[in-house]
Amino acid sequence: MTFTRRDRDRRLTVRLLVVATGLVLAGCSYRGTSTELYQPSPTLAVADDRGETIYRRDCAWCHGSEGGGTARGPSVIEGLNGPASIDFYVSTGRMPLNDPSEPAEPSGPSYTPSEIRDIVRYTTTLGAAGPEIPEVHPEEGAIGLGAELYQENCAACHSTTAVGGVLAAESDALARSRIAPGLQEVGSRQITEAMLIGPGTMPVFGAESFDEEDYNSIVAYVEYLQDPDDNGGAPLGHTGPVTEGAVGWIVGLGATLFLIRWIGTRVGEE
């Protein structure tokens, strides 16, 4: 088999295309976050109380042995910080961090539910005063009321379909203040805790904003949005006209262009 110069050039074109495609795909896979696991120091003394052991081992380095905070991290017992706040940060995996400069982003929790209960109980003995862990009963809420309250108070940042959105923050702002996270994976307790304590840039929606029925209703609507009536076929990520436009061009116009190329001829073709 012999190759002419034209064949070689063609193969080069194909290779360049493959490389370009690879680069584009590699660019798309970039997420900018590392997922290194938290490694507690093995040299810490073990206390009788499991919550105290974990707190001293994993939290005290930044938040202080009495919970009052250090230069590396804020107090966990002042203001709205307390059981609801600690349960929220730990059970959504935002805490603990490997390094205080890292963004506090949601991921899987590092502890079992009973360990988290112990941590929270221990911090209350330090004098944490903020809201208690709420009891949520979304089944008692009115979903229509929840829809109204969600659209009015939450949708502008977390998006109408709860897929999350961005906040207009400068690049030197903490990463957690750049986005309003999507709510697809959040549990009902954590949704309510977030409203009570206002983590990151989120405002506080406390007792002066909502009553118990409001909380239950909002949680009911968010839970509905996590698995909504998806009539009409593939939901395309619930992100609206951007993905719809891409499908319109690629699938819609793409298929019709394929069709006319199939029906039609090109120059030199019969």
């Binding site: 110069r5 034209r6 063609r10 080069l12 997420r31 976050t33 979903i143 229509g144 009321l145 829809a147 109204e148 659209q151 009015e152 949708a155 502008a156 940042c157 977390h158 998006s159 109408t160 379909t161 959105g165 961005v166 906040l167 207009a168 923050a169 690049s171 990463a175 750049r178 986005i179 509905y224 949005l225 009536d229 998806d230 009539n231 009409g232 076929g233 593939a234 395309l236 619930h238 992100t239 609206g240 006209p241 951007v242 719809e244 436009g245 499908v247 319109g248 061009w249 819609g252 116009l253 019709t256 262009l257 069709l259 006319i260 190329r261 029906i263 039609g264 090109r266 120059v267 030199g268």
Partner: protein, 496 residues
């Protein structure tokens, strides 16, 4: 029986001679000549599904408490427009597939018009004597975009209300007239009660009537002036080589119609579009997120996001910031499009009629300018999803906007320069197609006749002297075009 009816009609109207002529009309074959037909058939789908939707839509903003079948909104106060769209989507039999097909057809309709416009531009089909049809085509594009936006705004959900608020703000930004215009169009201060019913009349009567009228003129002019064709052996400025309308082209076109219809209905059934039940009803104090227009207004949205925060005062009046990206840019865009055939004539001094098309490489400067323009609008179009891109890549959206502000200036000239070089190289290589061009041509753009394609000269003059033949009724007249006889079984027609 059929013959009898035909004879009866012919005796009274004398239609048979015209029909005979029409059925024998020759259309040149090239796949890209059918892009406009995609738009035409998408428009037919829009009308069919739109009529269905109009049976059930109620364009009223009067509010009532929803108590229909969609449980999550029971007890919520909604407008009749939103309620009827919910009913179309969730209660009316086949309502959702009709609504979704209508919406997908709108996206494909405008997309096909834009691709058709590109085909006309890059092949020089707008040149004399077809400037009029170019102008009609640009008007059709504007009307299509406008009608898309009015349709997007009808359901009175939170997303469309956000879009209307932006449109209202753009109207307000026009110096001196803005406030009056906003009030005139909306019937009062936003959100005015009458806007939905006004939008409906515009969307289903005024603009469609204009589109149908101009579309008819567009096709009549095409019929009268006959279609352009690519230069090929046997094809000259004075003939049309291709298939007869009946049966060949009619069969192709009918097949395309069914194909487009099938694709759009399939999309309507398989892909969710604009799930307004999830977006919720519009409330003036609320705003949806992420909020984008449908794709064909993405470039305006992107321009609004990218335009720097400049406010100028002239003669004591402030020119509000959205005026530049929201009014001036679209105005200049469409004016430049209208003027293009005449601008090019002024630059090239070529006012001769042309029935043979250019290949993009034949006119590297035009092709490069077109690519530059497309790149400019594409960057703005992508910038309209800056919030989603920032979220997906967890970067600061403000940084991203600054990056796009630089890219929108840097990328278009780079694309233009690269296109120019590519077209020069392609023309120099003599390769019949871009994919067959040797890469060495890029480094030696003037290496014409470098040996790769010695027999592929397709110059416009190569066959310009070929003889032409008129109708001879047997459909095999191509054999009479002279020595090369390249197109057997093709049909040839004289141009007047």
């Amino acid at each position: 029986m059929l013959k009898k009816v035909a004879r009866w009609i012919d005796n009274r109207l004398g239609t048979s001679a015209f029909t005979q002529d029409a059925l024998n009309k020759v259309f040149p074959d090239h796949w890209s000549f059918m892009v406009g037909e995609i738009a035409l058939y998408a428009f037919v789908v829009l009308i069919v599904t739109g009529i269905f939707l109009s049976f059930f839509f109620d364009a009223s903003t009067s509010q009532s408490v929803y108590d229909g079948s969609y449980a999550p909104l029971v007890g919520v106060e909604v407008s009749d427009a939103y309620k009827s769209t919910l009913e179309i989507s969730l209660d009316v039999r086949a309502g959702l597939v009709m609504r979704q097909t209508h919406h997908w057809a709108a996206l494909v309709f405008v997309a096909a018009i834009v691709v058709h416009l590109c085909r006309i531009f890059f092949t020089g089909a707008f040149r004399s004597p077809r400037e009029l049809n170019w102008i009609i085509g640009i008007t059709l594009l504007i009307l299509a975009i406008f009608n898309g936006f009015t349709g997007y705004s009808l359901p009175d959900d939170l997303l469309s209300g956000t879009g209307l608020r932006i449109a209202y703000s753009i109207a307000l930004s026009v110096p001196l007239l803005g406030t009056w215009m906003g009030f005139l169009i909306f019937g009062g201060e936003f959100p005015a009660d009458q806007i939905i019913s006004r939008l409906l009349v515009t969307h289903i009567m005024i603009v469609p009537a204009l589109i149908i009228g101009l579309l008819t003129a567009h096709l009549a002019l095409l019929w009268r002036q006959k279609h352009t064709q690519f230069p090929e052996p046997g094809r000259t400025e004075h003939n049309v080589v291709g298939s007869k309308l009946w049966p060949t082209y009619a069969a192709k076109s009918l097949g395309l119609f069914f194909g487009v219809f099938a694709i759009l209905v399939l999309m309507g059934g398989l892909f969710q579009i604009n799930p307004i039940w999830l977006y919720g009803p519009f409330e003036p104090q609320q705003v949806s997120s992420p909020a984008q227009p449908d794709w064909y207004l993405g470039w305006v949205d992107g321009a609004l996001r990218l335009f720097p925060a400049v406010e100028l005062r002239a003669f004591g009046f402030e020119i509000p910031n959205p005026f530049y990206p929201g009014v001036l840019l679209p105005g200049v865009t469409f004016l430049a499009l209208y003027a293009w055939p005449f601008l090019e004539q002024a630059f090239t001094h070529d006012r001769e009629p042309h029935n043979l098309l250019d290949r993009p490489r034949d006119r590297p400067m035009r092709t490069a300018l077109g690519a530059t323009t497309l790149a400019f609008y594409t960057v703005m179009f992508i910038a309209s999803s800056s919030d989603l891109i920032a979220k997906w890549f967890t970067v600061s959206v403000l940084d991203l906007v600054r990056v796009f502000q630089v890219l929108v200036i840097l990328i278009p000239p780079a694309v233009g320069w690269a296109t120019y070089r590519l077209m020069k190289a392609l023309a120099g290589s003599g390769a019949p197609r871009l994919t067959e061009m040797p890469l060495s041509a890029l480094t030696h753009p003037n290496g014409r006749g470098n040996g790769a394609f010695p027999h592929q000269e397709r110059g416009r003059d190569a066959h310009a002297g070929g003889a032409t033949a008129g109708d001879d009724g047997d459909g095999r007249s191509a054999a009479r075009t002279g020595g090369d006889g390249a197109l057997p079984a093709q049909r040839i027609d004289d141009r007047e």
